[in-house]
């Protein structure tokens, strides 16, 4: 799920940036440092939407003359939850299940959580095919899955998901994006 949250961070700037464009550089550096990162609590920081408040710079006393700024900013975060339904793109298929990505989030759907009518097939590209050959989950296919478990680390989230439920499973054969 996506949230719009207000977060804080200390940004250190080198003296050569202490000029007219300092604030722009600061914001740029903030984006560069936080966008795309993941924290266990908030999930993935997708985008900084607004820089709220920048404290006065404090020159650090380690002899480098760099200044530290305390920055408050709004950002969009993506935090998965157990039970949540997400759309994802399949990245890898093997006989134990398949991996998919929902943006930055890695998901694994094990063969126990793939509907019984789908069988693993490695004759060509690895894939799961339904008995009637109509549905084929292979790399680059889009799937809709429900998250059943998560492993949350300090800077990464990994999810176990299922397609064994109504309205879950293949939603696109991978010709286009989601």
């Amino acid at each position: 799920m996506f949230f719009h949250v207000n977060l804080e961070r200390n940004i250190t700037l080198e003296p050569r940036h202490f000029g007219a464009r300092m604030r722009a550089v600061l914001e740029e550096k903030l984006r560069h440092e936080v966008e795309g990162t993941c924290s266990g609590r908030y999930g993935f920081i997708v985008m900084v939407t607004r820089v709220d408040d920048v404290s006065e710079g404090v020159v650090v006393d380690d002899g480098t003359a760099r200044a530290k700024f305390h920055v408050k900013y709004d950002c969009v975060v993506f935090r998965p939850f157990k039970g949540e339904v997400v759309d994802a793109v399949v990245t890898q298929v093997n006989k134990f299940g398949f991996f998919a990505e929902a943006g930055p989030l890695q998901l694994f759907v094990s063969n126990a959580l793939i509907t019984e009518d789908m069988q693993f097939d490695s004759s060509g590209e690895n894939c799961y095919v339904s008995d009637d050959q109509q549905i084929r989950i292979q790399r680059d296919a889009s799937v809709r899955v429900r998250i059943v478990g998560m492993r949350i680390d300090a800077n990464d989230i990994f999810c176990i998901a299922t397609i064994k439920d109504d309205y879950l499973g293949l939603i696109d054969f991978g010709s286009g994006g989601l």
């Binding site: 609590r41 039970g83 998560m150």
Partner: protein, 480 residues
Amino acid sequence: MPASASGSDDDVESSDDELASALEAELFANDDAEVKDVAKANAGDGDSETKRAREGGALPRVVRRKAFRVDDARGRGDEGTCAHPAFMFEICVVCGERKRDDGGGSKGEMRSGSGEEALRGHFTTSMRYIHEGLTLSNAELEKAKREEKERVLKDGKLTLILDLDHTLLNSAQFKELTQEQHDLLHQCIAQEANGLAERERPMLYCLRHMGFFTKLRPHVFEFLEEVSQICQPYVYTMGDKAYAKEMVKLIDPEGKIFHGRVISNNDSTSSHVKDLDIVLGGETSAVIVDDTERVWPANHGNLIRLDRYHFFPSSAASFQQKGQSVMERSMVDEGELGSMGARAVLLDVLAVIQSAHRSYFKHASIEEPDVRTLLVKPDRIDLPLSGVKFVMSGVTPLSDRNPERHPLRLLASTLGAEFVSSIERDGDSVTHVIARSSGTDKVKWAKKTGGRVLIVEPSWLVACAQANTRVSESLYPIET
């Protein structure tokens, strides 16, 4: 979309941030039963929740929600218990519960869950080569092996495990070679590139980023091509993962042969020996090709032990075979003219595999054959060389302590021929002497029998295997 958060394993301490506390209430509600009031949780995004948390002050009312428990139990064997067949990054792939790891659990985030009993006495095997972080319970591994074996056999294939170093190729580090050797090798590479026909791949490589020279064994592409038709091949090496990956890229540039079935040192369950335990396949239908016997203590019967391939002098020296490398023999590779009887070993091995494959599937519908007996003592009468009793002379090196795993010995036995160890004791029953050159005692003895005992060159065996019949011995006389 319902905000059906039911907890997580994160263990971040409380925060002064209002939103964070609201989120946290959402995130850290107890996994099993207690979640926030559904109506409230259902409503919406972070902002409205923040507001609600502000207004409400305290945490919202806690209710039991049965519906989610049912959801949650999906995929479990019985209500509430999961056998945890496999783990991905330490969480069960079926129920999403965290792996119970005594002592290794991080920061007390392991809560007493319903799966705990099921996990007691639960042994798992790491299957890193299939995917980073994957571990299987032993029951699941057995099941996967059985299923994979059946699937592979149904395709008419055996499982084949190949070693890399000294078997399919030979590598040497830059620092092990002298400057003259460096120059010579670069010259060879340039020469080879010039002489290469279209679609032909070079055999000698200089891998600067790894600091290696690598020479592929003669006929390796041919071997892999043929063998992948009748086997599901794996690479199993003692080298590390990066090296294995690089080498597989050389021998299988399109990735069509191994499909990621590459087991390196990091993936093996033991650092000193190799074992079929993590290979998906059965022992009765697996063939191993390796140059070192002692690394397969448990699977001796599946092994085809070929001669080590030494291209670089440093490689030969490390095995006390100084002067035996191709570079030291003025670049005459095995199987080429002037190689002093060094055979194109991979082609011999290919013949063994083809022959074993043929006899395996000939009777596979009636009984379940075992490759291990087919390699050594097929005990069948319909094989091309049934009735042949042979001695070998100068084929396997005298220093070889276990000549019975030599490809040519195995080739003869898969074809139905019977090995006789000494001419003194059983000389009367011997029908063939397989020899490389004419000077040996056994050859002289055979000549004296007046044509009763036939003398043939080892290539005769390969020809018989290819034709699947007893080829005329007179076509393969030994060099005199």
